[in-house]
């Protein structure tokens, strides 16, 4: 009961504040607003320029959007990845972002009028230089690693990064995807539900390689001064991933939402994103990246399916994964 009363009091207090300053409600992914996510910095910086109250509401983004439907309370939705935007778009809840896509500095062409990327990265396999001297330089190399190397990956049915891996294999091998998975199977130590469990197994030394991102070494480099955790770069290319921000059409503060989108494209936001989010900025030339970041090794070739292709290929790619690894 105490919590109920507390919740009610918070609600009342929140609505009382609404009378004075406008509120911008932003739905964001769960990791966003913890003090280790970019949320707190965004809130502080944006409130300094908007004369408003930015309120983050976190949770499972896509299910929440679909569950709430027209009752959505958000003005802006932040954190939908490019692989699930099709479903979010189909709700009809989102409006054009109105920003200039040509200002983006992504390694791929981006012309979406609804979803505006605010960061990016690529899937990659991480290794530890103290345990592996020569990392694989291509996907074929990965398959042909010595027999005792063990890799931990995420399940494409329950995790975004796992799904990106399935699409990555699809992009490189196409109809040979299932065969590739079968060849890789002896090296797959196990499959986990989410990225965190996999990564934990890697840092604990249980697995030699882990499916993660090209930006993961940055955390170890800048936050821990540990230069032994690296991403193996493949000549076949790496699967591109981006998180986007979108405006909700039913917003009662459309100008404020626009101001927020403009802020996302601003230098201040873009310069903050790398260290706050451990990902690359979506609209900032490489020579302006924060110190040290341009030294982060990045792939030369980038693979990507837009949302229509991703939706069409998804079931096939996941089934190839499932059958290939089940043999």
């Amino acid at each position: 009961m105490k919590a109920l009363t507390l919740a009610a009091t918070t609600l009342i207090a929140a609505s009382a504040a609404a009378a004075d300053t406008p509120i911008l409600t932003v739905y964001a992914g769960d990791y966003f607003t913890s003090e280790w996510g970019p949320g707190p910095i965004i809130e502080k910086e944006f409130e300094a320029i908007c004369d408003c109250d930015l309120v983050f509401s976190t949770g499972d983004l896509l299910p929440r959007l679909l569950l709430e439907g027209k009752r959505i309370e958000a003005d802006v939705v932040m954190g939908l990845t490019s692989d699930v935007t099709a479903k979010a778009r189909a709700t009809g809840l989102l409006a054009p972002h109105g920003q200039d896509n040509s200002a983006l500095t992504l390694p791929i062409e981006w012309s979406d009028e609804t979803f505006l990327p605010f960061n990016y990265g690529h899937t990659a396999f991480m290794y530890d230089t103290t345990r592996m001297e020569t990392p694989p330089a291509s996907f074929d190399d990965l398959i042909n690693l010595p027999d005792d190397v063990r890799i931990v990956i995420q399940d494409p049915r329950t995790s975004i990064s796992g799904l990106a891996l399935a699409l990555w294999v699809e992009a490189i091998y196409g109809d040979q995807a299932q065969e590739t998975w079968a060849k890789l199977a002896p090296k797959i130590l196990t499959v986990t539900k989410d990225w965190s469990s996999s990564y934990g197994m890697f840092t604990e030394g249980e697995a030699d390689m882990v499916l993660s991102y090209t930006t993961s070494p940055a955390y170890h480099m800048f936050a821990e001064e540990d230069f032994t955790k690296k991403a193996a770069l493949f000549s076949d290319g790496h699967y591109f991933m981006t998180e986007t921000v979108a405006k909700v059409s039913s917003t009662d503060v459309p100008e404020l939402a626009d101001t927020f989108l403009t802020y996302v494209m601003s230098e201040a936001f873009q310069k903050m994103i790398p260290a706050a989010n451990w990902s690359l900025p979506s609209a900032l030339a490489q020579d302006q990246w924060p110190e040290g970041w341009s030294e982060l090794p990045l792939p030369e070739k980038v693979l990507f399916y837009d949302e229509t292709e991703a939706v069409a290929l998804r079931d096939k790619a996941v089934e190839a994964w499932r059958v290939g690894l089940s043999q």
Binding site: T10, S34, G39, T58, A185, G200, T203, E206, W278
Partner: protein, 504 residues
Amino acid sequence: MAAILVVAVVLAAGVGIASRIETALSFGTGDWAAVRFTVWQSFLSSMFSVVLAIPVARALARRQFFGRGLLVTLLGAPFILPVIVAVLGLLSVFGRNGWLNIVLASAGLPTLSIYGLQGVVLAHVFFNLPLATRLLLQGWQTIPAERFRLAAQLHLTPWAFFRVIEWPLIRQILPGVAALIFVICLTSFAVALTLGGGPKATTLELAIYQAFRFDFDLGRAALLSLAQLALAGGAALVALGVIPTISVGGGLDRPQQRWDGVSRVQRRSDMVVITIASGFLLLPLFAIVLRGLIGIPQLPQTVWTAAGASLCVAGMSILVLGFLAVPMAGWIASKPTGSVEAIGLLGLSASPLMIGTGWFILINPVMNPASLALPVTALVNALMALPFCLRILVPRLRDTLRDYGRLSATLGVQGWPLWRWVILPRLAPQIGFAAGLTGALSAGDLGVITLFADADRATLPLQMYRLMGAYRMEAAAGAALLLLIMALGIFWVCDWIGRRYAAS
């Protein structure tokens, strides 16, 4: 009343989901494989857990040694650990580079792989052996002291002693425990997937998770949830149907004194059993403590706040459960068969995701679900804990009613006085155990909160996952240790109060 409430909560969630079904329903080949694997691993896990629990409980029941109380409390720990923490703990011991394999390798022996069906069963036994042991141990402790004295006077051989005194007790307790563990394992998915080594170890719950969270295919989710409910319900009915209605008999509530099991062979074998079981259960916990110690100083303020929220949820769950489980147990115990208890298992086999999502759909038109996050979490957690509590409470309550019911009826003691003077004093240790388990389980549960949570209403397990998501693995290990200490603390306090009340 309480039973109706459980059914209502599950049904309401079902209605909420049904109102949003848009697609046609189908059951693919992958799903059938998932059903087969789910049933098979649950069956193996529950069988191993209960069969191995018999010697452990037997040894613990007849031995007194330094640290026994602490050991029995610690036995509650694996059960309440968040999945990911337990998995990493198990891997430190049984993993590819775990302690066991290091020992094996240095002895020149071939190393063992945990990944596969053996790993799934090992993990589930790790979680559930302690539960089965505790439930059996409680049974042993309800054997009247006079039985042991009589058995000693008759010079029963160990075999005769087992057959006449212990076996009837086991037969009465074990089927229910097996059903309970079967249902717990039925809904497991992250453990099964990680230790099962890949997509071969796909369970129904994974498919449900995928349908809810990833595909947002509510029709499919509902269909799969229904299949899971049917499996759990079937298992419950089979198990509860074979429980014989025999009583171990009433006594004068004297403290137990054991004259059996004093031979050297028995003492040795008990020692071996207790050592192996403790090693198996405590080494992974020790690994968790080791990993966590480095992380504790790194814990930020928000983690401590989240710990407060978790305590709050635990408290609420215990209260909800008190009103739900005790009356329900009373009702079940007064009936000859346990079909009502099957309803309790429904709450457990209904995926928390399904209940959470269903309630989200229902609450959403009325108010912001986030403001109800903690109460809903507490309610769902209490529902999850209900079957455990019924398993703990019912056998003892049934015996009490059978042994003292007629006398009480003759004396005209009924209603509240019956509870106050006859039932509650005898049930106190069980109520304490049940409350402790609920509280601890609730504190460690991630479950439905992820769908509802706001930044400032995070629970400790959620905050731990956020730390992991932000690469802070060491701090996350610290949070896990904090969670372990907190859950054990709740468990110990409730258990202790119950035993104190019973002793006075």
